[in-house]
């Protein structure tokens, strides 16, 4: 199988042993790699009803056919599990150099099973695989542990590591790599922590077999050259994801004060330009990437200086706008601590924004925060809550489970402004004035995450309140994005530079030998989207249409404050109409279940049979 090693490494932490297994060719053809492998292996290997924090849950780590290949931005790796944060399907990807390293070590995938009583880390050096004692690293921050692991093993080892948040069971903890790349969403790190797995360290030196190396060289070289000719190569790259801050704010879609507003008057202070001007140290890229979005920075807050990669746009939105922090260095400083503790900055900023609103409304009483006066716009308040969450002390214990569970515990109407879908906190786009983006959040398989279908630019282009055509667009994006995550390339050359998706067809052919086009790719995308929907139906009791609704704030409360979208919101009727349209186009029932016919059409007959038996 060209483009693959054809091997998965299975590691059982209970029995302290590992084995190498073949990956069947049919699986590679039907699921491509990365996110597709994660979806299929989780469906097959996790027993229905498994407790996410039990030894029976598994973590699937997968590369794709383009990992490690000379090709623009081919550095992504996927992590998946049954989520302790949402109870449903979870995958999260990150860039850096781990994907190519694991591929060169001779594996397409790693599956982690069981649980170690003592802290361990997984050591992979080509064929040498060991489960090693991690007591020297347990309790250390994610960035500090990576530094120490590199000192102990060698700089060339690529490390994925969790921080204290993952160790202690914060359900929105993240996996960290390369001092600033994170697989952050839906709590894969929390499952690592529950398994006693602090880190994975990988070194690989082997060649990945490809079908036509000569043609691959020519094709990829022309792809780099084409990227160099795109104007945004020069204008976007210096600022990375933070480049979009002003655009989103000016369009009234910037999450502000726990999603009560769409416009932040201090947004001009937290742009990519301000980052570059005030705190930037280095542009930092992932494997093969010509457009390094990583902005490595140095920040000082109250005399304490720290190095942090970022802040990225999502952190700027959720820690900045959503907590009313209007200073790029302050956001960077909070970002540092979230990275060091190993907390997802998206859920982290969202949860803390929620907590600050609860405090403002008296739902969290002063005595629950040791009598402190915590408020929006105050970095110390954010840092205080963050530390409580990581320590799981007092109010932190409640907040450490995310906004959905915190609102269930706190009550008093707080569920109205617990900003999540399916238990996953909404990321950095205020969707009340962007019907497509809202539908994308609602129907995202892992819960509200922008990366599953980034429809906001389409909304702005065609008219935000226009409902017609939005479901169709969201579905199309939901079939393209899994493919990018299955090939394990980065979406940014396409999304940010407008690099044509068709370019990947030829390179895929020269790597795998398969003459596929986007028609075939999208079919796999649809297969995976239906499979993960089925996973949620299997694992979450009574899962269906009701799980696709956003918080009431989004359809009952008009946006407050200033900006072009102030006073506006989407109605429940519009939501229902979009959902009906979406389900019907997908071939799902009105309750959001894939029909038997649809599943069979997608070669998912085995899924249909299992769902019928529930």
């Amino acid at each position: 199988m060209f483009g693959y090693n054809g091997k998965l490494l299975r590691v059982n932490l209970t029995e302290k042993r590992s084995s190498v297994e073949e990956i069947p060719e049919k699986i590679a053809r039907d699921y491509i790699g990365g996110r597709g492998f994660v979806a299929r292996y989780l469906w097959d290997e996790i027993r229905p009803g498994t407790d996410p924090l039990s030894p029976e849950n598994k973590i699937v780590i997968a590369t794709g056919p383009l990992s490690g290949v000379f090709l623009p931005s081919s550095g992504k790796i996927e992590f998946g599990t049954k989520s302790p944060h949402t109870g449903g399907y979870a995958d999260s990807n990150m860039g850096g150099h781990l994907s190519s390293e694991l591929k060169l070590a001779g594996y397409d995938m790693v599956i982690i099973e069981g649980k170690s009583e003592k802290p361990v880390f997984l050591f992979i050096d080509d064929d040498r695989v060991e489960i090693r004692d991690a007591s020297a690293y347990w309790g250390m921050g994610a960035l500090s542990s990576e530094k120490k692991l590199k000192e102990d093993l060698g700089e060339e080892f690529q490390i994925a590591v969790i921080g204290p948040a993952g160790e202690r069971g914060v359900t929105f903890s993240c996996i960290s790599h390369d001092f600033g790349r994170q697989a952050g969403r839906a709590g894969v790190a929390c499952v690592m922590g529950a398994k006693g797995l602090k880190a994975m360290a990988v070194r690989g030196t082997k060649t990945v077999p490809v079908a036509e190396p000569g043609k691959l060289l020519e094709k990829s070289r022309s792809m780099y050259r084409a990227i160099y000719e795109i104007p945004a190569f020069h204008t976007w790259t210096p600022y990375g994801t933070a480049d979009i801050t002003s655009f989103i704010n000016e369009n009234g879609a910037f999450p502000t004060k726990n999603f009560s507003r769409g416009f932040f008057e201090k947004a001009g202070e937290i742009t990519g330009q301000k980052l570059r001007e005030k705190i930037h140290v280095k542009d930092k890229g992932c494997f093969g990437c010509p457009i390094p979005c990583g902005k490595y920075s140095r920040v000082t807050y109250k005399g304490d200086t720290r190095y942090v990669e970022g802040p990225e746009y999502e952190t700027i939105a959720l820690v900045g706008g959503n907590c009313l922090i209007g200073d790029i260095a302050e956001i960077g400083y909070i970002n540092y601590w979230m990275d060091e503790y190993g907390v997802d900055t998206i859920s982290g900023g969202n949860v803390i924004g929620f907590a600050l609103e609860c405090i403002e409304k008296g739902i969290i009483p002063a005595e629950a925060v040791e009598g402190r006066e915590l408020k929006f716009g105050d970095p110390d308040s954010v840092l205080y809550l963050l530390e409580k969450i990581v320590r799981k002390e007092g109010i932190g214990e409640i907040l450490s489970q995310g906004v959905r569970k915190a609102a269930e515990i706190l009550g008093k109407g707080s569920e109205r402004f617990a900003i999540h879908v399916k238990g996953l906190e909404v990321s950095g786009y205020e969707p009340r004035n962007a019907a497509g983006m809202l539908l994308a959040y609602m129907t995202s398989d892992i819960g509200a995450h922008h990366g599953r279908a980034w429809a906001i630019t389409y909304d702005i282009a065609v008219g935000r309140y226009e409902v017609k055509g939005k479901a169709e667009k969201v579905i199309d994006l939901q079939h393209i994005r899994p493919v990018i995550d299955m090939l394990t390339v980065c979406r940014f050359p396409w999304i940010e530079l407008g690099f044509p998706l068709e370019e990947y067809e030829e390179v895929f052919k020269f790597v795998t030998g398969l003459d596929w086009g986007w028609k075939e790719f999208k079919k796999v995308g649809e297969r995976v989207y239906n499979l993960t929907r089925a996973f949620n139906i299997r694992e979450i009791k009574g899962f269906g249409r009701k799980d696709d609704y956003p918080p009431k704030r989004f359809y009952e409360e008009p946006l407050e404050g200033e900006g072009p979208t102030a006073g506006q919101h989407v109605s429940l009727e519009v939501l229902d109409a979009m959902l009906d349209d979406y389900y019907s186009l997908r071939g799902w029932t009105k309750d959001g279940r894939p029909t038997k016919e649809k599943l069979e059409e997608l070669d998912l007959g085995f899924v249909s049979r299992e769902l019928e038996s529930i």
Partner: protein, 136 residues
């Protein structure tokens, strides 16, 4: 040809290593790239580049005269090399190396492919003979 470096712009992407292995060995294996990128994180946040300066220390150390110079470029003669590793120990930059898949020592032959492809113009040609594909 000699390299000129602009390490401040290097973003650590290793595209140079990826193209090097494909050009010389038709292999997808960045570890066969004949130049090395060292990352310095978390502090101070920098990348440094190690490359062959064609200094000839490898050739001087080779007991079999398996590394020959022509026009200022030192090349390994595969038929003569027995992978003894003397050159590896002698290289002041750590950029000649042995790899399990290649039957002779691997080093830079000054082809300039890495300079052409570098997205950051971190690698340049001191004599101006090899242009980078990125137009600044």
């Amino acid at each position: 040809m000699k390299f000129k470096l602009n390490e401040e712009t290097c973003s650590g992407c290793r595209t140079c290593q990826a193209i090097c292995s494909l050009v010389h060995f038709e292999k997808v294996n960045p570890k066969l790239g004949a130049l090395k990128i060292d990352a310095h994180f978390p502090e101070p946040g920098a990348y440094t580049i190690r490359h062959c300066t064609q200094c000839g220390a490898c050739a001087a150390a080779c007991p079999l005269q398996a590394i020959e110079e022509r026009n200022g470029v030192y090349r390994v003669v595969p038929e003569k090399c027995v992978r003894c590793g003397a050159c590896v120990d002698a290289c002041p930059h750590g950029v000649i190396f042995l790899h399990a898949e290649i039957p002779y020592a691997v080093k830079c032959d000054n082809c300039g492919e890495c300079i052409r492809i570098c997205p950051r113009v971190a690698l340049m040609d001191e004599e101006g003979e090899v242009a980078n594909d990125v137009r600044l």
